[in-house]
Symmetry: C2
Subunit: 323 residues, 2 copies
């Protein structure tokens, strides 16, 4: 498979039509005032499966000819991609096998199971995830769909940003979270085409993208410790190659700032987003000089949270998922 | 002031145009499936001040001639009406004085203060609220705007339902919460005009509307104990007169069921609503026979919650605001 292009994002958008939501864009006068910028929130937490991952998974699943997919699909995922692949496989009426690290939030495991996929639990390390997935593929003959290091997935995720720039003409800059870099790479392909800057937001406790971008080479050594459970993964190889020449910068955020941003989105916009999504607002509020007076697109990537493990309130230290 | 009519709701809608949001209506395939009905959620948690109360207060404030209002407006409120009146007074550039019971959620007190109103704290009883308000009016000369027992407020709240029936033609029944009965009375006026049934939802721990409706006379004896902090007030006199001949029934809900419904709205629809709003979904889920196969309108009345006092999670017993 070759590196994806802007044209692949356009093709993905056609393929996804009717298979995922065209999500709304929300604004907030209060958050505009707090940031000194004009903020446009692309609501992927209102997407199917509650996350933008529905896009990439569906693009991968529906881009293959029927003769290739009889044995179904398999992946490893801490949650949202797993649910997305399970849903896409169910739409094509083939099986799905999802390898899930044992520390993944229960709400995300439940979502995967609800689509009828088989869940295979493993230790929460990248090595264990990859080994377990290899064994599953050997056993079942399923087609692997990587959560982010896959051109069809990258092109699919890019459709979120493609919609955003259609919905909000004249954006100056787009801020997206970076974990494995699927959404970020897809966003870079789209933004380059229209001349919009892209900034990535990453937690201090999983800052491999920032270190890779700064070093000019991909750094995979990585021991994540963050409330952003969707951003613990390591930046992918293809993702890094796409991102490196196109990205303006990676902003690194403390979890406490992300939790504050999340509380603002919940209480002011009344939208349930997960920490991995709220980090984009944290980036804007932490860097007022960069964003002041600008028209800023922010992708709210997902809204799948365990209500019993929230990163605010008087019990948040004890309830923090990373402790 | 005479009892409000459907025509007063139409007049209020004109007066409120551009002064409050026309809020969206959301649907959820998952909650339709869980309920066996077609549910249409009118999103008043996305209204100005985070609650439908913005409507009634603005209608009252903007219906008076300028010569009457120089000394400003005053009211007693556990939160949302206070913020709504503070906002409406600020729009007309006159002062607001809000009497707030000392147990009102901090988030609601903060919202009132943010609109520049003066907050006067009192004991959390109806008697203390009314006495304190009388003293404030004597001191300031402000015009009192009752939270619900006021024809201008009732007509204003009715505009939420007026919009809902325009946005969703063919509704069979509308479910709204009942506290003081402002929204319920306004809804009854609108629904009667188009022949749609109205059902009220009320917590077991504040069931004076149910007892009043059953007895055929208003019962004001009332010691509220519920997580629905917006529904602790006693049904108003004018409200009861409007509701009594028009309402189908009052459904009474346990707080635990309301908390479950609230968690469903948060996790499935990704919308932050307060317990007093979620009770409408609790009513539908608890009474499947009444709603099965029906096209049901539900007013999500507000989204102002203290994130530190949520009615779910392992700490909810300790954190419950009524304990």
């Amino acid at each position: 498979m070759t590196s994806p292009s802007y044209r692949d994002v356009l093709t993905a958008a056609e393929r996804l039509s009717g298979r995922v939501h065209r999500t709304p864009v929300l604004t907030s006068a209060l958050l505009d005032s707090a940031s000194g910028a004009s903020l446009f929130f692309k609501c992927e937490h209102l997407q199917k499966v509650g996350a933008f991952k529905a896009r990439g998974a569906a693009n991968a699943v529906f881009s293959l000819d029927e003769s290739y997919i009889k044995q179904g699909f398999a992946t490893h995922s801490s949650g949202n991609h797993g649910a997305a692949l399970a849903r896409a496989a169910a739409l094509r009426q083939v099986p799905a096998y999802i390898v899930v690290p044992s520390n993944a939030p229960q709400v995300k495991q439940d979502a995967i199971a609800a689509y009828g996929a088989e869940i295979i639990l493993c230790e929460p390390t990248l090595a264990a995830r990859e080994q377990t997935l290899a064994a599953v593929i050997e056993r079942t003959g399923a087609v692997a769909v990587h959560p982010y290091d896959d051109p069809r997935v990258i092109a699919g995720q890019g459709t979120a940003t493609l919609e955003l720039i259609e919905q909000v003409p004249g954006l100056d800059v787009i801020v997206v979270p970076v974990g494995g870099g699927g959404l970020l790479a897809g966003t870079c392909l789209v933004a380059e085409q229209v001349g919009i800057s892209v900034i990535a937001a990453e937690p201090v406790g999983a800052d491999d993208a920032h270190r890779s971008f700064t070093a000019g080479q991909r750094i995979t050594q990585h021991t994540p410790d963050t409330i952003c459970d969707g951003l613990q993964t390591t930046l992918g190889a293809q993702n890094f190659d796409i991102i490196r020449p196109r990205l303006e910068q990676v902003m690194v955020l403390e979890d406490s700032v992300t939790a504050h941003a999340m509380a603002l989105i919940w209480t002011r916009m009344k939208q349930v987003v997960e920490p991995s999504a709220a980090i984009v607002l944290a980036a804007v509020l932490t860097n007022p000089v960069r964003f002041a007076g600008r028209k800023v697109g922010l992708v709210l990537t997902g809204g799948n949270v365990d209500l019993e493990r929230l990163p605010f309130g008087r019990d948040h230290e004890r309830n923090s998922p990373s402790r």
